[in-house]
């Protein structure tokens, strides 16, 4: 254990650059020209990426966690003779945090670059980069914090930035409502993290992940400290389960899992680069990161691990089913993000933290690429619609229920045939679609296959659900691609689209390349395949491989090559059904939405997202309002107002008694004075003691 390793002192520069960028753009952004403002924001993130790369080469095979203590923060004195709780500003550099740093700053930098083009005409340009830089700062704090408190500062900070950026176009009612929803739902989850922190402090007397001489929480968990405690007091086992479940509850909020996923699809109200950065590549993976970071503790509770796996795979299936019928290009991607995050948790629950983190990585590549591509499509459609509106005065179209609004640039029913207009966008999105579908040799194939294999080892049921979800994923992604890029243009606007500027296409090309070849970082170690080193696993082994492999519920020993072939076949089948199905119908919906039965009840149920929002409305919002009304009408109007009015009433009544003494006659007053004087004189003459 290297504490405050001077060699890694430069780690503090990583969050510093985005913070400086935030301060400059925040205070002087409106005074600066747009180009300077955007350049500061982008370069700040790339500077951090540079430092991250330097740390990467320096860390190399060094598997020990390196702690960089910046400053003391606070000390809570111990009670009953226990040691004081010391919380410092400490940054943690190990393979896990470094991986996240590289994803956040690398992908984040590309998205900043893209934003300089995407937001070029927006009046809130510098505000946008202010928020983005602040987000990067908090996200880095989240992954680099060496204690749960600092991690939580980042955790809340990214939630704040998410709120600010979803509601970036705050003059839209739907955007501010979505921002509020994200804030509230995340708050519900964050309570879990807080409770987990309290319990960790209560039972283990520390909030540090790693500490001197193995005193950190994770050191205790990894070095049998917690295991020994459990052996001594079985109640600690329950405490570990509750702590980890509470923390996982927070993760379901931040990472949009059942039952707290509802905010993520609505979060698409934000500008598209935000969706790519926060709601696909980085922030929503914070939950997966936290579980992987604390895996030594999580592994000690088999119940928590099972819950994580079940919630993960259930979310994967559930979100995929909704994604199959959405018509908003960004909503399809949002539900697919929920679904893919479900895969990551399913991996964590099976103890395959490395596989989960690898899916975080590849997902960051292909989902960022897909979102940025969808942004390019929306940008092009918006531009075409704008040109049309300039040519002729337009009124808001009257749209039949369930039909496409012809002025909605995000509705894939207005698109079609964009392939020839946006060739670069099409190509990069296509490879990313193959990646997310899990087709060899694209990156998602490697990560998803590893997850499915590890789940199959635990339970064939989970594997089966994962496999079905993989097929559905392949289907709905190809459906989205077909309706957007193939067939004939469905509107005049779709015919008049143009490819975006190089600032927007170059990040697409880089991300598309990563999405294509990123998978080779983790070549599967399976007999019968050509052997290459699994670089990713090699790199992450120290940080994310299970501490207690013997505690994992491994029941099956399936043949890896067979599973690999099955999942590949399912993925290809899904893509093929979508492509040829939609080709035959020229983009009209098939399977779940037959053209002759658009109101089929099951289709309607799925289209309305299984009515979960409505369910939550009636389960929580309506009772909440009812309780508020009761409190208002009974407690506030009767009790509170009663006390306040009662105080005044009492004063009036007491006054009514004493006011009769005030006769207004001078002689009465004079007489009172005389009596008083007599009493004083008598008292003085005879002494107080004798009278009273």
């Amino acid at each position: 254990m290297n504490l405050s390793d001077p060699e890694f002192a430069k780690a503090w520069l990583i969050p510093l650059f985005p913070l400086v960028g935030f301060l400059i753009n925040g205070f002087f952004g409106t005074l600066l020209p747009k180009k300077v403002s955007g350049a500061i924001g982008t370069l700040a993130v790339f500077a951090s990426f540079g430092v991250g790369c330097a740390l990467f080469s320096q860390l190399a095979g060094d598997s020990a966690p390196h702690i960089n203590t910046l400053a003391p923060w606070f000390v809570v004195p111990g009670f009953n003779g226990s040691a004081p709780l010391v919380v410092n500003f400490e940054l943690l550099v190990d393979h896990l945090s470094l991986l996240m740093i590289l994803i956040i700053t690398g992908i984040g930098g590309l998205i900043h670059l893209y934003s300089t083009g995407y937001m070029a005409k927006d009046p809130g340009y510098s505000r946008f980069f202010t928020y983005l830089n602040l987000f990067i700062f908090f996200m880095l704090l989240l992954v680099m914090g060496n204690n749960m408190v600092l991690m939580f500062v980042g955790w809340e900070g990214v939630g704040l930035c998410s709120y600010l950026l979803i509601g970036f176009w705050y003059e839209r009612d739907s955007a501010s409502a979505a921002a509020l929803k994200a804030m509230v739902v995340n708050r519900i989850g964050d309570v879990g993290v807080l409770i987990g922190m309290f319990m960790a402090f209560w039972y283990f007397k520390t909030l540090d992940f790693h500490g001197p001489n193995g005193t950190g929480l994770l050191d205790l968990a990894a070095n049998n400290g917690v295991a020994a405690l459990i052996a001594a007091t079985p109640a600690i086992g329950a405490a570990v389960t509750l702590t980890t479940l509470a923390i996982f509850w927070g993760c379901t909020g931040k990472s949009a899992q059942l039952p707290l996923y509802t905010w993520l699809p609505d979060a698409m109200e934000g500008p598209t680069p935000v969706s790519a950065l926060i709601h696909a590549a980085t922030m929503v993976t914070a939950g997966v990161y936290l579980v992987s970071r604390m895996h030594s503790l999580f592994e000690l509770s088999s119940l928590t691990m099972t819950v994580i796996m079940v919630i993960g795979i259930a979310t994967a299936l559930f979100a995929a089913s909704i994604g199959m019928v959405q018509n908003d290009i960004k909503r399809v991607l949002a539900y697919s993000t929920c679904s893919q995050l479900g895969y990551m948790f399913a991996a964590c629950g099976a103890g395959a933290f490395t596989a989960g983190m690898f899916h975080v990585t590849t997902h960051a590549f292909f989902k960022a690429c897909l979102f940025l591509g969808s942004g390019a499509v929306i940008h092009a459609m918006e531009h075409a619609m704008h040109e049309r509106h300039k040519a002729s005065h337009h009124d808001d179209a009257v749209v039949a229920d369930g039909a496409a609004d012809p002025n909605d640039p995000q509705d894939i029913r207005n698109m079609g045939g964009l392939r020839s207009k946006l060739p670069i966008t099409h190509m990069t999105m296509l490879v990313s679609t193959f990646a997310i579908a899990g087709i060899f040799p694209f990156s998602g194939f490697f990560s998803k296959d590893e997850i499915l294999f590890r789940d199959a080892q635990t339970s064939y049921l989970v594997w089966g659900v994962g496999l079905i979800t993989a097929g559905m994923t392949a289907f709905y992604m190809m459906r989205m691609m077909y309706k957007t890029f193939y067939g004939t243009p469905k509107t005049e606007d779709a015919k008049h689209t143009h490819e975006a500027s190089p600032a927007m296409t170059s990040p697409l090309v880089i991300l598309g390349t990563l999405a294509t070849f990123g998978g080779f970082l983790a070549w599967p170690q399976i007999k019968g395949l050509p052997q290459f080193t699994n670089l990713f696993e090699h790199f992450e082994a120290s940080a994310a491989e299970p501490t207690y492999p013997n505690l994992l519920p491994i029941h099956n020993s399936p043949d890896a090559l067979t599973l690999l072939a099955i999942s590949l076949a399912v993925a290809i089948l899904g893509v093929a059904i979508a492509y040829f199905g939609y080709k035959g119908k020229d983009g009209r919906d098939l399977l779940i939405a037959p053209a002759d039965k658009p109101n089929a009840s099951f289709y309607q149920v799925v289209l309305h997202k299984w009515y979960v929002d409505e369910l939550y409305y009636y389960m929580f919002t309506v009772p909440g309002r009812w309780i508020s009304t009761v409190l208002y009408k009974v407690f506030d109007l009767k009790v509170i107002d009663g006390v306040v009015m009662g105080a005044g009433w009492l004063a009036t009544q007491v006054g009514a008694i004493f006011r009769t003494w005030q006769t207004g006659y001078v002689r009465n007053y004079a007489f009172t004075i005389l009596i008083g004087a007599v009493i004083v004189v008598v008292a003085v003459l005879f002494g107080f003691k004798n009278i009273f």
């Binding site: 004493f658 006769t663 006659y665 004079a670």
Partner: protein, 106 residues
């Protein structure tokens, strides 16, 4: 020794002072004309003044007589203010009956 009889004893002064004070008090409590009440108050003040002077002489302490000078000065100022108020009340109400001055009644 022949000089002793010419001194009036202190008690005489004090009894006179008490009588004057009582007359003043009764006057204040019973009269409805504020002018007469004023005079009664002055009587009470001067009763106290008398006892102060008597004690001053008896104790051979000039302080009591000094204080009387002050009391008289303050009483003169007070009379000026009080009479001013009475004149104003009369102008406003055409009456100075003290029992009708009961606007402060609760």
């Amino acid at each position: 020794m022949g000089n002793v009889a010419v001194h009036t004893p202190l008690e005489f002064y004090l009894i006179l002072s008490a009588i004057l004070f009582t007359i003043g008090t009764v006057g204040v409590l019973t009269k409805r004309n504020p002018i007469i009440m004023f005079m009664s108050v002055e009587l009470m003040l001067n009763a106290v003044n008398l006892s102060l002077v008597a004690f001053s002489r008896y104790l051979n302490d000039i302080g009591g007589q000094l204080m009387v000078i002050f009391v008289m000065a303050v009483a003169a100022a007070e009379v000026a203010v009080g009479l001013g108020i009475i004149v104003t009340i009369y102008r406003n109400r055409d009456s100075i009956n003290i029992d009708r001055m009961d606007t402060m009644s609760g």
